[in-house]
Amino acid sequence: MIWEIFRRDRAGQPFEHAGSIEAPDAEFADAWAREQYGRRGESIALWLVPRDAVHVVSDWADEFDLKYRRVDGYSIKARLKEARERASVKSG
């Protein structure tokens, strides 16, 4: 059984994927992961996740134009320029 190992460096940091180990059960995985990823105090916590339990999402449908949700969906340069020009004409 393959276990994906995530480790946390310091308080407040996210868990980061660090590698995987093979172990027949959680007890063995626990002992082994402590040895592999914690014997120098380099992790404050570990997550041991059976690989089969990971639900992966990596296919992203993009059939709609969703640009309005993103910063690259807005181009304000030209309008801003125009607005500034109008403003300067008014005040001038």
Partner: protein, 301 residues
């Protein structure tokens, strides 16, 4: 933004990795890329596993309890690296049992420096300091490997290697500040290890003719790595009053190191299984693999 899907086209893949792109286990990988990855990473795993044997011979003979513990810890680190690395190879499709079988039968290779004897305690210092220094140069360049799962475990490996170098330097410093006989032991070990160290990074094949570079498995060429090793470590060797056994060694004004051509025939002969300790060490590994089968069976049960 959605992650760009890598097209199932070898040329596009090549451009992607050459542009600094990284791939995961679940991505489509060209067959040649996968084969090169397995070969390269498996050899690295083999080297970690075989690399503990020269040092293991000195655990019982270490001069103090502190040194014995440090050496044992280093051996544990290297075996741990082998376990992580073989896991990466397994995910690429080659089971660990097959890797070990190929190692023992001589089908796959391991690094040249692990085929030599460790004659004295001086060797232990030179290995931990300079062999690990040469190795960490290669391994740091793998932090940018195009195959991301390998690059990720390299972070842990490099971090642990830095302890080994310090441990090696400490062993060396204790000896060079000791008796003249102890100093001589270090010099004698350095004289024997210099040749294999200069061969370690491989022949100076240009990076763009090296398939491991083309696929960006490695991010630097062999000669670049050797130059980096010389630049970093020759001054450290000399400042201790030690002599580098190469009369041609010098740093040119443009910063490039000149040296006597390493013995490439020796390198080839050693890595193809004809080193002075190759047969003994493989026999040792084979014996333990068989002897400890019950442990693996018990855990798997």
């Amino acid at each position: 933004m959605a992650a760009a899907e890598i097209s199932r086209d070898e040329q596009a893949f090549l451009e992607y990795v050459q542009g600094g792109g990284q791939v995961e286990t679940t991505d489509w990988l060209p067959d040649d890329y996968r084969a090169k990855l397995v070969k390269f990473i498996e050899m690295h795993g083999n080297s970690e596993l075989m690399g503990v044997l020269p040092e293991r011979e000195w655990i019982l003979r270490a001069p103090t309890l502190q040194r014995k513990l440090a050496l044992t810890a280093k051996v544990q680190d290297e075996v741990g690296h082998a376990q992580l690395i073989y896991r990466v190879v397994e995910d690429l499709g080659k089971p660990r049992e097959q890797c070990l079988a190929d190692l023992i039968s001589g089908t796959s290779k391991f690094h040249n420096v692990f085929h030599y004897p460790t004659k004295t305690w001086g060797d232990v210092g030179v290995i931990a300091w300079l062999v690990d220094a040469a190795a960490i140069i290669s391994q740091k360049a793998l932090l940018k490997c195009s195959y991301a799962p390998y690059a990720r475990i390299m972070k842990k490996i490099c971090w642990e290697e830095s302890f080994h170098i310090l441990h090696g330097r400490d062993v060396i410093l204790a000896m060079v500040t000791g008796t003249p006989a102890q100093f001589e032991l270090v010099q004698e070990a350095l004289d024997r290890w210099w040749g294999p160290l200069m061969q370690f990074h491989g022949n100076p094949i240009p990076a763009d003719e090296d398939p491991m570079f083309t696929w960006r498995i490695k991010s630097q060429g062999n000669e670049e790595a050797r130059q980096q090793f010389l630049d970093g470590y020759v001054p450290q060797i000399l400042e201790l009053g030690l002599t580098v056994p190469d009369p041609k060694l010098r740093k040119r004004e443009d910063g490039v190191w000149e040296y006597t051509e390493p013995d490439w025939a020796e390198l080839k002969s050693v890595v193809t299984g004809h080193g002075p300790r190759t047969a003994d060490r493989l026999a040792f590994r084979a014996r333990y693999l068989e002897q400890e089968q019950w442990v693996r069976d018990a855990l798997a049960a």
